[in-house]
């Protein structure tokens, strides 16, 4: 696959097929060739798009124009008008009525290329991260000034709630509500913590924010401290992020000099002291209670919850823990208002998401786009197509604790609710795009290897479960598996989910569940036929059955 000018989708749900979607597809193929556009336009059949009254549908990107019902007789005109001459063939457009579900989302972005929308990365790469003046010129510390001089804590919570900001660390918990919990917790001493222990494989969005716009995090932490009533905060940065560590440390001392940190900020009597704390190489410290243990100078072993950090956190005091990306959303929201923020992405998960695009695509890297774009768009538009013209097989989202998403789900909007409904997880925003040379057993093996090594060892379901699951996958990959192993794997996956103490163990079994749900035949081939269909696993075919 390469980069195309336009992308044409044909719906292929049973209803569409019934009404001739196949013929429309073939006619499109013929007409696109007849106009000599086959190198500029990609043509794909997609599943149920959700608008049964006007099927078969033909959807053309980047304009997101929906045509329907389209017959094979219409196709010549459609291709000539829209794809050749570049005019919308309005007579063929689907009637505008009660757009719902996925199609409403498509229509909302009509006329726009799903272009990048930068909110949290608004300054990264544009300003000099080591200059506080540069930050201030670009609206820096305005939101803090507004918060401490014009807004009550309650104003801040309700603005964040109205904006619909949800935590970007993976769980998607409403940010304003979490802040309110800490505000309401008893006690004169409270802490705020920024979780910058970004260790999800494939994720480096927080690093770019910390390196490119360090003051944004300092500003946001000061706002959160003011709102919840804390006077001390920590930024916990993973030990491997040297540059981020230096930039943040330098930014803190500059902010102190300018009076944005320290005592009597903006003359309001609000005091806030901020420390940087580096990790020492442990994935589990991204779990908030493990992170707190680590700041206290201990092994990073997660605590039993409840009580939650919002009431019993660092040194037993109420503590607010937020992810870097979540915090970076706060100053723009306070500056521009909740309404402005709701203008991006779908209603229930507004805003943008930073994605890292990796794997077998032509263009890897990082984008910030409105919530709700699809994997198909990510691959075609931002990834510039699959590498070497291969076929997209699956994507692994959200680092190791995300999901394995088969190609069949590539039209699911990537937002918290749509993903939850489809039974997959958005996680941290890493999108590892894999082509059809990827073996799912091999992939699951790599993921389980990660979990067994990063398990802190405190609770046995995770410590032993991840190890046993890994061993079983290794056996299967060597052609020594038995069918019973698959039942055992599912049971392990279930036990990990039900019995583990923290999120690491709970998600460690997800890759197993995902590959057995979506790619069971491929896994069974390793066992029944002693063959790895992709040729990745080295199976000795001469061994005894």
């Amino acid at each position: 696959m390469k980069a195309y000018r336009s992308m044409v989708l044909v719906s292929s749900d049973p209803e569409s097929l019934n009404k001739g979607a196949d013929e429309v597809y073939q006619a499109l193929q013929t007409e696109i060739k007849a106009f000599g556009l086959e190198n500029e336009i990609s043509l794909t059949m997609v599943g149920d798009v959700g608008r049964h009254d006007a099927v078969p549908l033909v959807i053309v990107y980047p304009e997101a124009v929906i045509y329907g019902p389209v017959t094979k007789e219409n196709v010549h005109y459609l291709v000539e008008e829209h794809l050749y001459k570049g005019r919308i063939a309005s007579s063929l457009q689907a009637p505008v009525k009660e757009l719902s579900g996925k199609i409403a989302w498509l229509s909302a972005r009509k006329g726009t290329l799903p272009a990048e929308q930068r909110i949290v990365l608004e300054r990264a790469g544009i300003i000099d991260p080591e200059s506080i003046d540069d930050y201030i010129i670009h609206d820096g510390y305005q939101a803090l000034a507004k918060a401490v001089t014009e807004m009550s804590p309650e104003d801040i919570f309700s603005t964040l709630e109205k904006a619909g900001l949800r935590g970007r660390g993976g769980a998607g918990f409403p940010t304003g509500t979490k802040w309110r919990f800490v505000y309401k917790a008893n006690g004169p001493k409270k802490y705020v913590i920024c979780n910058a222990d970004e260790s999800e494989p494939g994720t480096f969005k927080d690093r770019l924010i910390l390196e490119g716009d360090p003051h944004a995090i300092i500003e946001s932490m000061a706002i959160s401290a003011y709102a919840v009533g804390a006077d001390e905060g920590y930024i916990y940065i993973r030990g491997e992020y040297n540059i981020a560590l230096q930039r943040i440390s330098k930014a803190i001392s500059m902010a102190k000099e300018m009076g944005f940190l320290g005592e009597n900020i903006f003359g309001t009597g609000f005091n806030f002291d901020l420390h940087v704390h580096s990790g020492a190489g442990a994935y589990i410290c991204g779990e908030e209670t493990a992170l707190i243990e680590s700041i206290e100078g201990k092994r990073g072993e997660p605590r039993a919850r409840p009580p939650y950090p919002t009431t019993n956190g660092l040194w037993g005091k109420p503590t607010l823990v937020n992810n870097v990306e979540t915090l970076a959303n706060v100053p723009p929201i306070l500056r521009n208002g909740a309404e402005w923020y709701r203008g991006f992405g779908p209603a229930k998960s507004p805003g943008t998401k930073v994605y890292t695009i990796l794997g077998n695509v032509n263009n890897t890297g990082l984008i910030e786009a409105p919530m709700g774009i699809t994997l198909r768009e990510v691959i075609a538009i931002y990834g510039k197509g699959m590498k070497n013209g291969k076929t997209f097989k699956l994507a692994q989202t959200g680092g190791s604790s995300g999901s394995i998403i088969p190609a069949a789900l590539q039209d699911t909007p990537m937002d918290f609710d749509s993903f939850a409904k489809a039974g997959v997880a958005l996680g941290s925003g890493a999108l590892l795009i894999c082509d059809d040379d990827t073996c799912v057993v091999d992939l699951a093996k790599v993921l389980l290897n990660f979990f067994r090594k990063e398990s802190c060892g405190k609770c046995s379901p995770c410590r032993i479960g991840s190890q046993r699951a890994y061993e079983t996958l290794v056996r299967i990959s060597e052609g020594k598996g038995e069918m019973k192993d698959l039942d055992d794997l599912l049971e392990l996956s279930n036990n990990l989910y039900q019995l583990s103490n923290c999120g690491l163990g709970q998600t460690a079994g997800a890759p197993i569940r995902d590959i057995l749900t979506h790619f069971r035949a491929e896994v069974e081939a390793h066992i029944r036929l002693k063959v790895c269909p992709t040729g990745v696993c080295a199976i000795d075919s001469n061994q005894e059955n």
């Binding site: 494989p201 580096s278 190489g281 442990a282 890292t356 990796l358 890493a430 590892l432 790599v446």
Partner: protein, 159 residues
């Protein structure tokens, strides 16, 4: 207490410098251990004794912390340390073949040190440089988009 590191600084001086820099409080324990580990290449037991004494933290707890975090080591490592990313993004981008080439070239396996004490080979989880995978880090130098054929040339730079 005796024991000199490679630059001739004594272990207790190194610990003292780290404690002075971060302050003798428990919440600075990990930054202090990180710093000492970086200076000395690992955490010798004399260093743990000294930190224990300065921070008034039991040695058992120090050992428990030192053995928990991947960046801390209680055993000496080779002159050069190779960290190889084994997470999925690098794996999918061809990391497996590069890993094999590194092991073949040095003739050691994961977590081993060459007999001449020159090389220690470690695997690591994601280092956050995934857009240029496969990634390997030699000491503090990062190499991205590594292919197996480049491995000997990269390692030869450190001879």
């Amino acid at each position: 207490m005796a024991g000199n590191d490679k630059d001739g600084k004594t272990i207790s001086n190194t610990v003292q410098a780290a404690v002075d820099r971060f302050g003798a409080s428990q919440d600075e324990l990990i930054p202090i251990m990180n710093e000492v580990n970086r200076e000395l290449g690992f955490l010798p037991s004399e260093a743990l004794d000294e930190i224990s004494h300065q921070l008034r933290v039991p040695r058992s707890r120090l050992f428990s912390v030192a053995s928990f975090y991947a960046m801390l080591s209680t055993k000496p490592r080779g002159k050069h340390v190779i960290q190889f990313c084994e997470s999925a993004p690098c794996h999918v981008a061809g990391g497996r073949e590069v890993w094999q080439a590194v092991m073949d070239h040095l003739n050691i396996k994961e977590n081993e040190t060459t007999s001449d004490g020159n090389w220690t080979l470690l695997t690591t989880s994601c280092l956050g440089i995934c857009s240029v995978g496969p990634v390997m880090v030699v000491d503090d130098d990062i190499y991205g988009n590594v292919d197996p054929a480049q491995v000997p040339a990269i390692l030869d730079k450190y001879r």
